[in-house]
């Protein structure tokens, strides 16, 4: 299963980005192959609609779970109808590698 994590940088040591729509990078982690892919967020500088555009991006990568610090109001219902699970982690000090470790419990 693929899991998307919002990240502030493009390395596994980067910290979790607490915003979903305007995060710096998305990390798409595949729990089966344990592979990681860093995608720079093209919607970072959008004036509006960054959240829904990012939902499109995540959905097109086939992720079934999204981990971020916070999700906007427009985004929640979109993810619900796409059957993508949301995980809110209110810990901006967590590193991407630590989250992946948690996922491999």
């Amino acid at each position: 299963m693929k899991v998307a994590i919002t990240s502030t940088g493009n390395s596994p040591e980067s910290k979790l980005d607490s915003r979903f729509g305007r995060c710096a990078y998305f990390v798409v982690y595949d729990t089966e192959s344990q592979s990681m892919e860093f995608i720079p967020n093209p919607n970072k500088e959008n004036i509006e609609g960054a959240g829904p555009a990012s939902v499109q991006l995540i959905a097109s990568r086939g992720a079934k779970k999204v981990i971020s610090g916070e999700f906007g109001a427009k985004v929640k219902s979109l993810f619900d109808s796409l059957k993508i699970m949301l995980v809110i982690l209110k810990d901006p000090e967590k590193r991407v590698s630590e989250i992946i470790e948690l996922l491999n419990h």
């Binding site: 779970k65 981990i67 219902s77 619900d80 109808s81 059957k83 993508i84 699970m85 949301l86 995980v87 809110i88 982690l89 209110k90 810990d91 989250i99 948690l102 996922l103 419990h105």
Partner: protein
């Protein structure tokens, strides 16, 4: 301009598109039941909620709920009697899911497959999770009796009609808060 419709909260949409009568040639004039009507039938006739409770779950007023439910039943009846197909389509709804909090890693996550019971945290795998309610609006109905003359409120005791309760201040009969006294009855 009429007041815009409130967006109705609902669980999962039905996982199929509709119904077709057996033994009739296919016709293309189906009855369209929208998602909020489907949800009303599900809440009232499948989960057996009262209208007040169901309206609370959908985030709409009780009269609006009753109107949606009435319309849903009429459509189902029409389809049955006339042998028309039913399709689920449209409606002013948003899909909502239940949220859980993990006490181990401190994360919150939502649960999409409501039929399956959730036993562990999706992130760290801990079993120390609990359902998270950030919306106290959807809690159990809190009924209050109110005195129509002096406005004194008192907690409603289930089983005792409010009109049989007497106001401790002016000894008059009480009424249910938010129902008849809001309609201005007695004027």
């Amino acid at each position: 301009m009429p007041r815009p419709k409130r967006i109705r909260r609902m669980n999962n949409p039905p996982h199929f598109k509709g119904y077709r009568p057996i033994g009739l040639p296919e016709e293309n004039n189906p009855v369209v039941i929208n998602y909020e009507e489907y949800e009303a039938i599900r809440l009232s006739d499948y989960e057996l909620n009262g209208h007040v409770e169901a309206a609370r779950i959908m985030g709409i007023s009780r009269p609006t709920y009753t109107r949606i439910y009435e319309s849903a039943r009429r459509k189902v009846a029409e389809a049955f009697v006339k042998g028309r197909a039913i399709v689920f389509e449209g409606g002013k709804v948003y899909f909502d899911s239940e949220w859980y909090a993990c006490n181990q890693c401190g994360c919150f996550f939502n649960h999409l497959e409501k039929e399956q019971e959730i036993v562990q945290c999706t992130l760290c795998g801990s079993a120390d999770i609990e359902q998270y309610r950030n919306n106290p609006e959807f809690g159990p109905a809190d009924d209050v009796c109110i005195c129509p003359s002096c406005g004194k409120e008192k907690k409603h005791v289930p089983g005792i009609p409010c009109r049989n309760e007497t106001c401790p201040d002016c000894n008059g009969p009480m009424t249910r808060k938010g129902v008849s006294h809001r309609l201005g009855m007695g004027n």
